[in-house]
């Protein structure tokens, strides 16, 4: 009996030994992300390069489904006491993560503990602001940041007799172009948009310097209230409904559902994330360009900066998580902030560079001359000093708020209600979500 257990013990030991040795040599860092397709490939490439660049840490990247799956998976794992070290969380989850106190390790503290120095000023202002606390300290690590831009099918423009160099800058010009496209039947659909709430409400509020909600869009406190019934939103929504009524605009569905119809050539003018560039490059069989979003010139003459979308990386805490593992996370964050890494990321994904240095380097290399429009997002992000209305959004239950707006917009586009009623309903329901978040995170 004793002998048998001895043998069993030795066998177990010898089986465990190799992995034990590996574990001692390299600390494993679990990293959950929510990017699929070519973008996911880039993440995996970057992880591999980090692992090859040093011999102390091994980052294990796992694709966890959509952004929502990744975030809720990480939260469930934290509640179960088994979270990943790094979770990629989309920008609308920022307020929820910031309110999570003991669950997260603020990036500035993480870096300080690990002795890794990263000056927040390295990062582009629009990116930095979104992920910093009120004292300007980074809470999460900027990563894939995009902005919404306008995508134009130049073949359709040509066919409609429109200039392919003098491109529309204002909404009035967009409408005029769309009318010509429709008249010439240059494309089946003149205008569509992906991410309806993000593009038509959040981005529009920022570039027109209009508050989306009180308390500096929530940056100053959880007691923020939506401002959707303001005249600007009514004006813009009526503009959209007008486009639809005249057959110039077609709703492409929620979130990124409208992604597909620009590269197919089905639509002439589309609004979408800059991160869609890789796909358009691969699939489009026509000449195209991306330019900054249009604005209403009777509201603002020089539009403000747009806000970012995309996601950032959060360091999660766990019971008994050794300091070495946090150090590994910090090292990984330092690695992805290196100028060459960031430049490569920007060029190969279409996301904006997160550091100023990488942007400058891309400019000196002539990247934007060879790829016209590749800088549309970063130009739009950095063209003005951010105001409290264009710094970003820090709203709790933001996913729900976005969906509420989307739903009321859909009802309006279906003709069930007018712009005013839609905005009132969105504001009322959205505020309920905001109050729920406030209650849950204060008690």
């Amino acid at each position: 009996m004793q002998r048998r257990s001895l043998i069993a013990g030795t066998a177990a030991l010898s089986l465990a030994a190799p992995s034990l040795a590996r574990a001692q040599a390299r600390t494993e860092i679990q990293y959950w992300y929510g990017l699929a397709g070519p973008l996911g490939e880039r993440v995996a490439e970057q992880v591999k390069r980090f692992n090859d660049s040093q011999d102390r840490y091994t980052v294990v990247g796992s694709f966890k489904g959509s952004y929502i799956d990744t975030m809720t998976g990480a939260i469930a794992a934290w509640r179960a006491g088994n979270p990943p070290h790094i979770a990629q969380v989309f920008e609308v989850g920022t307020a929820t993560m910031m309110a999570a106190g003991p669950a997260i390790r603020p990036v500035h503290a993480l870096l300080a503990d690990a002795g890794v120095e990263l000056d927040p000023k390295r990062y582009i202002a629009g990116v930095r602001g979104y992920y910093s606390d009120t004292q300007g300290r980074l809470i999460s690590m900027p990563y894939n940041s995009s902005s919404a831009i306008m995508w134009l099918n130049l073949d359709a423009f040509q066919k409609a007799g429109l200039s392919t160099t003098e491109l529309p800058k204002t909404w009035a010009q967009v409408r005029a172009a769309a009318e010509k496209i429709k008249a010439a039947n240059a494309a089946p659909v003149a205008i569509t948009t992906a991410w309806p709430t993000w593009v038509m409400f959040e981005q529009m509020a920022a570039i027109h310097d209009v508050p989306f909600s009180t308390r500096a869009n929530g940056f100053e406190g959880m007691n923020t209230e939506l401002q959707l019934t303001a005249p600007f939103f009514r004006k813009h929504m009526e503009f959209l409904l007008g486009l639809q009524k005249d057959g110039l605009f077609r709703y492409g569905g929620r979130d990124n559902a409208a992604d597909a119809i620009f590269p197919t050539g089905e639509v002439a003018i589309s609004f979408n994330s800059a991160g869609n560039r890789a796909r358009v490059e691969r699939e489009a069989r026509f000449k195209w360009i991306s330019v900054p979003l249009p604005y209403h010139d009777d509201v603002i003459q020089s539009p403000k900066n747009g806000v970012i979308g995309g996601a950032s990386l959060w360091a999660l805490s766990a019971r008994n998580r050794p300091a070495a593992e946090y150090r590994g996370v910090a090292e990984f964050f330092r690695f992805i902030s290196e100028v060459d890494q960031d430049l490569w990321w920007h060029k190969s994904t279409g996301y904006v560079p997160i550091t100023i240095a990488a942007y400058e380097k891309a400019k000196t290399e002539g990247f934007y001359v060879q790829n016209p429009g590749a800088d549309a997002a970063v130009v739009q992000l950095s063209r003005a000093e951010p105001t409290p209305n264009s710094m970003g959004f820090r709203l709790g239950n933001f996913v729900e708020v976005r969906n509420v707006i989307q739903e009321e917009l859909e009802k309006a586009l279906q003709g069930q209600q007018g712009a005013t009623a839609a905005l009132e309903a969105a504001q009322r329901r959205g505020n309920v979500a905001l109050r729920n978040f406030e209650r849950a995170n204060r008690s």
């Binding site: 929510g34 990017l35 699929a36 397709g37 489904g65 959509s66 794992a77 597909a260 796909r279």
Partner: protein, 278 residues
């Protein structure tokens, strides 16, 4: 049967068959075209020339979304999960139904009802807490964590129980007269009689195990225990580009095993259902 009516019957049945087959045909054809063709929304009706490379890519490397894990290894995980879930469910349900039907002991009805009531606990009700339990037991990312929580089965127990009730009392009396104990009776009489039911349940539960996705999505965080339905859902998910040609090839591959089981075991399957339904 009058020829005119037979003709009508054929037409209706063929329409039914087409209604089921058409979507599959489109995916099958789609899986032989390249990414750009499908991305542009041209739905072809005839095969393209990219079949070999699409299936080779899917089998060996998967899509980017699955981080280089090929569909081959996902299929293996699905197979393991489906077989173990089916066999596990059948085994423990058979055992517990036998205990409930052929014995009289205190707490019998309580045991039966506590199994039965699990019918009323849909997975969404308890997905977070169940995940916590599995995590506390250290079973995240293991086949055990993937499979064991799915093994309890009220439906299988009910089906066996129903069937056992139809075994005539004379059989039990005869066995007792021969001096056979409960285990011997189980092995020599009940088990052979239950074969068709087991085969039928196996088909149903194999398909059930194969088609799971909410649970595996939560409990598997590394690619090496990932199943093919999850792999495919992940390929479709996210804000970025979906590689539809690979998704379609994966879709075809993921359909083959459960369809094969249903088609090949069709006879037992239908017969078994008939008998349990009597």
């Amino acid at each position: 049967m009058a020829p005119r009516r037979a003709w009508l019957t054929h037409v209706l049945l063929i329409l039914g068959v087409i209604a089921f087959a058409l979507p599959i045909w489109i995916v099958l054809i789609g899986s032989t075209h390249d990414a750009a063709t499908i991305g542009r929304g041209e739905v072809p009706l005839l095969p393209g020339g990219h079949a070999l490379e699409n299936y080779r890519t899917a089998w060996g490397a998967g899509a980017a979304a699955t981080a280089g894990i090929g569909v081959g290894s996902m299929l293996w995980n699905s197979m393991l999960m489906a077989v173990l879930v089916a066999v596990g469910k059948i085994t423990i349900s058979f055992a517990s139904a036998y205990a409930v039907v052929f014995f009289r002991f205190p707490g019998r009805m309580l045991a039966f009802w506590s199994i039965f009531i699990t019918l009323m606990l849909p997975v969404e009700v308890r997905i977070f807490p169940t995940f916590k339990v599995v995590s506390d037991l250290g079973l995240v990312n293991t086949y055990a964590g993937l499979i064991i929580p799915l093994i309890a089965s009220a439906t299988a127990t009910l089906l066996f129980r129903q069937f056992f009730m139809t075994i005539p009392d004379e059989f039990v009396e005869a066995a007792k007269m021969d001096g056979a104990g409960p285990l011997r009776f189980l092995w020599d009489v009940v088990l052979p009689l239950s074969r068709t039911n087991m085969a039928a349940l196996f088909v149903i539960l194999f398909v059930y195990g194969w088609n799971q996705y909410l649970w595996p999505l939560l409990v598997t965080t590394t690619a090496d225990v990932e199943t093919v339905v999850i792999g495919m859902v992940k390929m479709i998910g996210s804000e970025a580009n979906t590689e539809w040609h690979i998704v379609m090839a994966t879709c075809v591959l993921s359909l083959l095993p459960p369809v094969a089981v249903v088609v090949l075991m069709q006879r037992w399957f239908v017969k078994g259902l008939t008998e349990t339904e009597k």
